[in-house]
Amino acid sequence: MKKLVAVLLVLALLGTAVFAQGSSEAKSDKVKIGALIRNLNEQFVKDYADNLRKLAAEKGVDLNLQDAQGDVARQLDQLNTLITQGYKYFVIIPQDTSATEQMAQQIKAAGGGAAFSNIQPSVAALKVGKDFYLASSPELVAGQYQAQIIDEYFAKNPEKAPGKVLNMLYLLGQLGHPAQISREAGLLDTLKSLGYTVNLIARDTADWSPDKAQEKMDTWLAAHRGKFNIVVAQNDGMALGAVESLITNGLVDNDPSDGTILTFPVIGIDATADALNSMDQNKLYATVLQDSVGQSSTAFELAYAMATKGSATGMTAWGIAPASQVISEEPANDPAVIAQCYLVPFKPVTKANYKDLM
């Protein structure tokens, strides 16, 4: 039985060899920034984290980056751990908007501040104090760009949508997720204002996941074949799952002149490397860039300024000035916190410009 103890201890020691470097880096004279990242298994999040690490290395910052692996409870535990270790300034991709106020309160109690990206913090979280920032892209805009891309496509190929009627298969992210709600509103409202009639032939969540999207599409194609003319997904992962499904189900016209060899255009959001590759092969039609470098650089500069100068109020971060006008989306819809919102622009990515990102 003492063997068990011995083995466990050896294992633990082996473990320490791996992470000894981590702790030896943690010198007290360095600027300390904590990063709480919701799930490194997602491409956008991983790109965001990689850029944070790069920026930290350049500035000689002791960056402690924690992966919540999709678990709100784990993220709160990690925040507690980092606060105990003396980290006060944070860059956060929250797991859930509802938990952000609690996180902000804990950070404020420790005398620090934070910049939130990707998943919006609540208005209440930013109201906890002036040292809490939004460094993210308004999700409505992503949906609006998707609508514009769709409009361009059918303006060039009017025979594919007679009478400006769109019969859409729509793959959603996790329901109730702020990005899910706002991206949908942005897309549908803009299409309507552009004069389209949108019939949602099928609309369901695939939880941001490519394999769930592919499964869902397989089912939809069996049920609704021939009844739709456009496929929209709320992220690239799901869009690529849909592309795979269309290919395996033979919905391919092998005519790339309209920008895709698929019978119907598929549109995503994020502009991940995989998505750009798929565009290069004329599969995915278009996407919208959610700028991982822009968001992480903005958030990092805000946290760095707070850690070194004590405040980031009013500064320009990564060339972006604090917002001055409210938009319709939380938390930037509240004039009381608008100066704490740094809106990193989305960008439509089409055949015209995708090569710039590769």
Binding site: L40, Q66, A73
Partner: protein, 330 residues
């Protein structure tokens, strides 16, 4: 001679208290690695809070494993009960609330979640005791049912914006002691009383040791099995309530994978998969050993990918020695 005896004695002690020795060993190791930082009250408090909800799951599944059963439905049952609790605690002015515009007394979410958990336990217990389904299969089925119900009930949306009174259940503290820790102590004490000081507890051990013999000696095996799963379900209901209260939300990802954490923890804590063996202290030490590993690695900034690896090895090693120990005995 003296020396040898001492060595033998300490060997014996170590084998008897493996889980404790491991726990203390890890604690010392971590405190050396962090130059004492990990042993500060703040850190220990963090650790206790982090493991508190899992403790309830572990106490439940620990009792089940003592009867030689297993429960794979924990994660999703806790997810369901957390969602149920959260749905009755949303701010009435929150537009996307499940019961928008209505507010409920604080007792409603707690009772609803505990009832949901208890019913699920009863269902599991009935399938296993009277339906004679293998526990692995029965709870695999109910896991999926719980997941389905959670998605239907919440329409797959986040149940957020919970009221402060409800959040205070978990987030409050008595002086420096967080409420959560007090709940865990109470629950562990009750489970200890049931296991060690009631006829029913003795029956659980007897059934796990040898169900046939237990039946021959007059124990109503079916009834006791149904009870043990129901007790566990009630504990999951409490776990769900506390988790929702702590996080201030519940969603379809809440508590995912908790069954594995809980089963691993009690196994590391010396509750044998062969049935009939295990103690409340072992379960709790198991939970905090796993917690310490999680917490320590997170404290030291170990890459999350390595954390999974180390955890996996530790579980395998613990079960390996556990199996060896009881293989030798029989």
């Amino acid at each position: 001679m003296e020396m040898k005896k001492l060595l033998n004695d300490s060997k014996k002690l170590a084998s008897q208290y493996t889980t404790w020795v491991t726990f203390v060993g890890l604690l010392l190791l971590l405190s050396v690695l962090t130059k004492g930082n990990a042993l500060r009250w703040n850190s220990i408090r963090n650790l206790l809070i982090a493991e508190s909800v899992r403790s309830f799951a572990a106490l439940g599944v620990g009792m089940i494993i003592i009867t030689k059963g297993i429960d794979l439905s924990i994660g999703y049952v806790v997810c369901l009960t957390a969602s149920v609790a959260a749905s009755f605690a949303q701010n009435p002015d929150y537009a996307s609330a499940i019961y928008a515009g209505q507010s409920f007394p604080l007792i409603v979410p707690v009772v609803a979640a505990v009832a949901a958990g208890g019913l699920f336990g009863l269902f599991n217990g009935y399938l296993i005791a009277y339906g004679k389904l293998p526990p692995f299969i029965a709870t695999l089925g109910s896991m999926s049912i719980a997941k389905g119900l959670q998605l239907i009930y919440t329409k797959a949306a986040v149940v957020g914006s919970l009221n402060q009174n409800f959040k205070n259940i978990s987030q409050g503290s008595v002086g420096p002691i967080p409420n959560l820790i007090i709940y865990v102590i109470i629950a562990a004490f009750i489970v200890w009383v049931v296991l060690r000081h009631t006829r029913q507890g003795t029956n659980f051990y007897a059934i796990g040791g040898n169900a046939q013999a237990a039946r021959v000696s007059g124990i109503n095996v079916e009834r006791e099995l149904m009870m043990v799963y129901t007790y566990a379900g009630i504990l999951y209901g409490i776990a769900g309530t506390l988790l929702a209260s702590r996080l201030g939300l519940a969603n379809s990802l809440t508590a995912n994978g908790m069954e594995l954490d809980a089963i691993a923890a009690v196994t590391v804590g010396g509750v044998s998969q062969s049935g009939g063996v295990g103690s409340v202290s072992g379960m709790m030490v198991g939970v905090f050993t796993m917690g310490l590993i999680n917490y320590g690695m997170s404290f030291l900034g170990v890459d999350s990918y390595y954390q999974q690896l180390v955890k996996g090895f530790i579980i395998i090693v613990a079960v390996y020695f556990d199996m060896k120990k009881y293989a030798r005995r029989s």
